[in-house]
């Protein structure tokens, strides 16, 4: 367990989760990992081009051609390389789902999909650029590990951890600069929820950029005498079912918060676990089955109800249904 936001440590400046990618690649290459990184004409935004600086022969851009990139990645992986392939979450999986399905997932290739600009927090580019369905697509693939970091520290830990095994991973990163949650560092364990707060009245389960507002929601609830447990569910798949079951038994009410359609993401995975093992009232904070649109990202989070206030309200609704 890691303590979040300890006062003893100075608060690092906000950083986007995507900012972790380039430096992590360089670190891995320097540590001697046999990695190759691919980009598809978005390398300045993913940060993948950072590898080209010190390891030019280890980085390729294929142009705007995501389907081509994914099958190339699979071919490279078949020669024993650990392959990182990066694009935006709308284009990967959006533009190359079948290539991911057959060449990466069915062949169980050692390819780490780095999907930047996930969610509506992309902002002004609007609906076509905002992935609200990528977690649904990726969690539906057998054998795919699906993770969503809540800050740049956790993103770095995940990207490095992914190099330690030979399975396919989908790592969803984001565009906006976020406050750092893991100020003391993060030991990331695949498939393990990280409890950030304890409480017995309700459990708030969040991932990605909803983790920090969810911690704030727990603070607000605490002031009203409501004890909220907070779980950072950074691994959507394989889901930490034990943590969910325990939360249901011990707190009796669940809230899931995510920057994704309420259909097919973290909330759906948790609901499936609850329904099978320990039915309990559950509420969702997420995108209510509509596409995104243009606007400043903070205004969009308000518009779509992805806020601490929404989590507080959802917690009260869940508790009332006990």
């Amino acid at each position: 367990m890691t303590t979040a936001r300890a006062a003893a440590f100075p608060q690092p400046p906000p950083a986007a989760t995507r900012e972790a990618y380039g430096p992590a690649l360089v670190k891995l290459a320097e540590a001697g990992h046999d990695i190759v990184a691919l980009d598809a004409d978005l390398s300045a935004s993913t940060g993948g081009n950072k590898l080209a600086g010190s390891f030019p022969d280890r980085w390729f851009t294929v142009g705007a051609a995501e389907a081509n990139m994914i099958s190339i990645a699979a071919g490279l992986a078949s020669t024993g390389k650990t392959v990182y392939a990066a694009s935006f979450a709308v284009f990967m999986p959006g533009h190359c789902f079948d290539q991911i399905r057959v060449h990466i997932a069915q062949q169980r290739m050692n390819v780490k999909l780095i999907a930047s600009h996930g969610g509506i927090s992309v902002g002004e580019d609007g609906a076509s650029a905002q992935a609200i369905e990528d977690l649904a697509l990726m969690t539906s693939l057998p054998g795919m590990n699906v993770v969503v970091p809540c800050d740049s520290v956790e993103a770095d830990a995940m990207i490095c951890r992914a190099a330690e095994d030979v399975e396919p991973w989908y790592i969803r990163l984001g565009r906006p600069k976020l406050p750092v949650v893991y100020t003391e560092g993060r030991h990331f364990e695949l498939g393990a929820a990280d409890q950030l707060r304890d409480g017995n009245d309700v459990t708030l389960i969040a991932c990605g950029l909803m983790v920090e507002p969810t911690i704030r929601a727990a603070d607000v609830l605490a002031q009203e005498g409501i004890g909220a447990r907070v779980l950072n569910m950074a691994t959507i798949k394989p889901l930490d079912e034990q943590a969910v079951i325990q939360a249901a038994h011990e707190t009796g009410a669940i809230v899931c918060a995510e920057e994704h359609n309420v259909i097919g993401g973290l909330g759906s995975a948790v609901a499936r676990t609850l329904a099978r093992h320990c039915p309990a009232p559950m509420e969702q904070v997420g995108i209510e089955d509509r596409f995104g649109q243009s606007g400043p990202w903070t205004a969009l989070l308000q518009e779509y109800g992805l806020t601490a206030e929404s989590v507080v309200a959802a917690a009260k609704r869940a508790i009332a249904r006990k």
């Binding site: 004409d41 142009g63 051609a65 533009h95 002004e124 580019d125 609007g126 518009e303």
Partner: protein, 286 residues
């Protein structure tokens, strides 16, 4: 009156329209502090020729006119040139332009069908426009349109041609004999990450298109009269799909953008840069 082309502007008027479109492009991306000025400025003459050169038959008062020509932006990030042109053509008030990319606006970051009226296809994911055009052309054929009705003009980016779907569409357009389709390539030699020749070579792009059975024309994409003439020629051809390859400069009309196209793919100018850009556009420097 919905059955003929809008009267074509004369040569001088076309140059003036180009200036107005360019002005809107830099003002819009300045107001939003985001958006894609480079690939909009490179396509300015293309849009001016289509809408003001008597090429596309359309009616701003009746955007849904069934037998209209359709102009499709496949490189769907270049919305500034589309919104500027549609506003100038009378599809909506230029007052809307400063709302570009703000919450609740009709003027979304990437094209959204019918938002505002006149936008024919949603986009933003590269590579889809030519396939959509194949569907529209098949539909127009089935509807029994006359040979010169319901033409389809598709503006494609050169970086966009990296996407394989384009070549599937190019193959099917000639296979189905869809002469109504005219592709217009904004050949500005830059894409998101920089120079296309370094990222993914597409040359000899004209020969490739020709090998797929299309008629090919090459034209200076900033000579608006030449672009208009090439498009009118393509429009009149009824034997095969046509492509007009427009040699362009990304950021054309604004010196600091044209000199550094890689830096101006997707961002808005500052206050000072806007002032300089407006001056240069007014002076017609390039």
């Amino acid at each position: 009156m919905t059955t003929s082309a809008a009267p074509a502007a004369d040569a001088e008027a076309l140059l003036d329209v180009c200036k107005r479109i360019r002005r809107h492009i830099v003002e819009m991306t300045h107001a939003a502090q985001s958006g894609h000025p480079g690939g909009s400025l490179s396509a300015t003459e293309i849009f001016a020729a289509l809408y003001f050169g008597g090429v596309a038959r359309h009616d701003p008062a009746d955007p849904q006119w069934e037998r209209r020509d359709r102009v499709i932006l496949s490189k769907g990030h270049a919305t500034p040139v589309v919104y500027a042109t549609l506003a100038e053509a009378g599809y909506f008030s230029t007052d809307l332009i400063p709302t570009f990319r703000s919450l609740g606006t009709e003027l979304q970051g990437h094209v959204v069908r019918n938002k505002p009226p006149g936008v024919e296809m949603s986009g933003g994911a590269l590579g889809m426009g030519l396939s959509f055009a194949v569907g529209v052309a098949l539909g127009h054929q089935l509807s029994g349109f006359a040979e010169d009705e319901g033409q389809i003009f598709v503006v494609v980016g050169d970086g966009e041609l990296n996407e394989g779907q384009n070549w599937e569409a190019i193959m099917s357009a000639s296979h189905f004999g869809l002469h109504r389709i005219t592709a217009i390539l904004d050949r500005n030699h830059f894409q998101n990450d920089g120079a296309g020749d370094e990222i993914m070579r597409i040359d000899p792009v004209g020969d490739k298109w020709a090998a797929f059975g299309w008629g090919v024309q090459h034209v200076d994409g900033h000579d608006v009269a030449a672009v208009r003439d090439a498009l009118l020629t393509a429009r009149a051809r009824a034997d095969a799909p046509q492509v007009v390859i427009c040699k362009t400069v990304k950021g054309r009309g604004v010196s600091f953008m044209a000199e550094n196209p890689a830096g101006w793919h997707g961002k808005g100018p500052s206050d000072d840069q806007l002032a300089q850009a407006l001056d240069e556009i007014e002076a017609g420097l390039s």
